[in-house]
C-alpha cells in the first residue's frame, strides 16, 4: 500500500486545487468574444451557446449532437481578390511548367502565364477545372499535402503582403474556440478542396483533417515501386461541396444536421436552411463584407462570395443573423 502523504503535502495540494479552481472561474467570466463589438450578432452567439449547453435549458443539446459548420472562403478568411486555392493552383502550374515547358504555350495555362490578370480573371469554369485537374491530381495524397503545406507557409496575399493564414478572421477563431469550449465539434464545410484545407486546418483553426468537409476528387488505391500501398488523386469529382452540395457533404461526412452554421454567400444558403430546419434552437449567421478599409466591401456584383439581394431577403425572412464586418468586428485580423 502507498504511504498516505504528509499533512503539509496535503495542504499544499489543496491550496493548489483552490487556486486552480478560482483561476478557472475567473477565466470563465472573461469575455470569450473580445474581438466582437456588443450588438445583436455577438448577443445571438452567446444566447445560442447558453440556450443549448446550460443544464435545465429547454433547448439543451446533448454534447454528442453539438455540431457547428463553418464555410471557409469569405467566412473564416479573406477570399478577395481570388480564392487562395486558385492562387495555389496558378503557383503549381509554374512548378509544373519548369519541368514541362509545353504547358506555357498551351491554353488555358498560357493565359495564366501571360500575367494578364484581366484575361486570367475571365477564364471560363471549364478552363479553371482544367487548371485544377492538372495541379490537384496525378500525385499521391501525401505529395499533394506537402505541396499545399509548402505554398501556404510561404505565399503572400497581393494586397496585405501577409501569409494567407494570417488573413483568418480573428472574431471567427474566437467563435470556434467558444463553441469548442462549450462542447461543440467545429467543422469546416467548404466549397474548396478538402485536401487543400486539411493541409493547414489543424494548425490554423484547431480543426483536425477529419472535421474538414470540402469538394473532393476521387482517389485510386495502388502500390508504389516498392510495393507500398498508396492513394493517388484522380481527376474524377466525388463531391462538389457547394450550394445544394453542402448539405450532401454534411450528411456524407457528419451524418447529423449541424446546430449552427456560418457562411457568407449564396453557396452557403442551403447549408443554413438545412441547419435551421433541424428544428429547435439553431444558429445561422452570414458574414457581410462591408468594410473596404480594413478588408473588402462586395456584394451581388462580386465574382467570388456572392451575397445576392435574394440571399439578404432570405436571411431576413428566415431570421438569420447578418454579421456586419464594419460594425460587429472590433478587430478583423490578429495582427491589427
Amino acid at each position: 500500500m502507498k504511504p498516505v502523504p504528509s499533512f503539509s503535502g496535503l495542504a499544499r495540494t489543496l491550496a493548489l486545487g483552490i487556486l486552480l479552481a478560482l483561476g478557472a472561474r475567473a477565466q470563465a467570466q472573461t469575455d470569450p468574444l473580445p474581438s466582437w463589438n456588443d450588438g445583436p450578432a455577438k448577443q445571438a452567439i452567446v444566447t445560442f451557446v447558453k440556450e443549448t449547453t446550460e443544464q435545465g435549458s429547454p433547448s439543451f443539446v446533448p454534447p454528442a449532437e453539438r455540431i457547428a459548420a463553418f464555410d471557409q472562403d469569405g467566412t473564416t478568411w479573406v477570399e478577395q481578390p481570388m480564392y487562395a486555392q486558385v492562387m495555389f493552383a496558378f503557383h503549381q502550374l509554374g512548378v509544373m511548367a519548369a519541368k514541362d515547358a509545353k504547358l506555357k504555350s498551351t491554353e488555358p495555362f498560357k493565359t495564366v502565364f501571360s500575367g494578364d490578370r484581366a484575361a486570367t480573371a475571365k477564364l471560363s469554369l471549364p478552363d479553371l477545372e482544367k487548371i485544377l485537374a492538372i495541379t490537384h491530381t496525378g500525385m499521391t495524397v501525401e505529395v499533394f499535402q506537402k505541396s499545399a503545406q509548402d505554398w501556404i507557409t510561404s505565399a503572400r496575399h497581393p494586397r496585405f503582403q501577409r501569409l494567407y493564414t494570417e488573413l483568418v478572421f480573428q472574431p471567427m477563431l474566437e467563435v470556434m474556440k467558444y463553441l469548442r469550449d462549450n462542447g461543440y465539434k467545429t467543422y469546416i464545410v467548404t466549397g474548396g478542396g478538402q485536401d487543400f484545407v486539411r493541409a493547414y486546418a489543424e494548425r490554423v483553426y484547431g480543426i483536425p483533417p477529419e472535421q474538414v468537409v470540402g469538394s473532393a476528387a476521387d482517389t485510386k488505391f495502388g502500390y508504389d515501386k516498392d510495393g507500398k500501398a498508396i492513394l493517388t488523386k484522380v481527376p474524377k469529382v466525388m463531391l462538389v461541396d457547394d450550394k445544394t452540395g453542402k448539405p450532401v457533404g454534411i450528411h456524407l461526412m457528419i451524418g447529423r444536421r449541424p446546430m449552427a452554421a456560418f457562411g457568407n454567400s449564396t453557396g452557403d444558403q442551403q447549408m443554413l436552411e438545412y441547419t435551421q430546419d433541424g428544428g429547435g434552437a439553431r444558429l445561422m449567421m452570414l458574414v457581410h463584407h462591408d468594410d473596404d478599409v480594413r478588408e473588402y466591401a462586395y456584394g451581388p456584383a462580386s465574382k467570388v462570395g456572392t451575397f445576392s439581394d435574394a440571399l439578404m431577403a432570405e436571411a431576413k425572412k428566415r431570421g438569420w443573423v447578418v454579421i456586419s464586418m464594419k460594425n460587429d468586428w472590433k478587430r478583423i485580423f490578429a495582427w491589427e
Copy 2:
C-alpha cells in the same frame, strides 16, 4: 469574494480526492481486455497501445493522429448466415409490399417473398443491388434512419434468436474502449451502408455517426411540402467502401492513415495494407472465424466474409496478427 471553506470541509474534499486517485490507479491496473485469453493476439494489442501512447516511447503517436479503423461485418459482429443489412432489406421489402402488392410478383423481389432460402441466397449482385436500391433510397435520411432503428431494435438472428446488436463481439468492444481510453478515435469502416450502421453505432459501439465510414448512396437536397429543407436518398452510388474502396473512404472521411486496422476478410486487405504502409508502429489484425460451436467456422468457401488462402498468406508475409476466435477469445458475446 467567496469564503474559504472550513478546515473540516477541506479535509473531506482532500480525502475524497485521494480516494478517487487511488480508485483510478486500481482501475488502470485491472485487465482492459478481460474477454481475451493470454496469447500473441492480446499481447499485440497491449504492446501497440503502450508503444504508441507512453511518453518517451520512440513510437509515440500524438493524440490527434490516433485513429483506429474497424470493419464491422464479421469483425465486430456476426455476419453469418447473411449480413444483417440484407436481412433488413428483405424486411423492408415486406413493409413496401404491404402497400404495393405488385412487388410480390416482380423479380427479383418475388424470389425473396417465395421464402426459398436457397434461391434467395443465389440472387445475383445486380439483383441484390435492385433490392438495396428500392429499400434504401427514395426516402429522407431521417425516415431511413427511423426504419433502420425500428428494425435493429426488434429483428432477431435466425440461429441465436437474439437482437443483432447482442451479437456484437465482446472482445472487440473491449479493444475499442481500451483504444479510446488511450486517446484513440475509433472508426467503423464498413462495406455496409453508412446510414444503416449510423442508426445504432453510437449506442452499440460508442461510435458517433461522424466516425462511421461506409458505402454511401448519394442524397439530393430539396424541400418538403412545408418548405423545410430535406435530403432524400437517391439510387446513385457515391462510395463503395470495400476492398480498394476502403482506403478511398478512409481518405475521404478521415484524411489520415489509421494507426490500427481490424478486419476479417479479403474486403479488408487494402485497408490493412494502407494502414501498415503509413510506417512506424501500426497494428493490423484479422479475425478468423474458426469456432463453429460458439459462433461459426468459415473460410475460403463462404459467400460472405471470405478469408481466402491468399489473405492468410498475405497476413503471414506482412506480419499481421490473426485472431483465432476459438483460442483467443474467452468469451465471444456479452451474454455468454
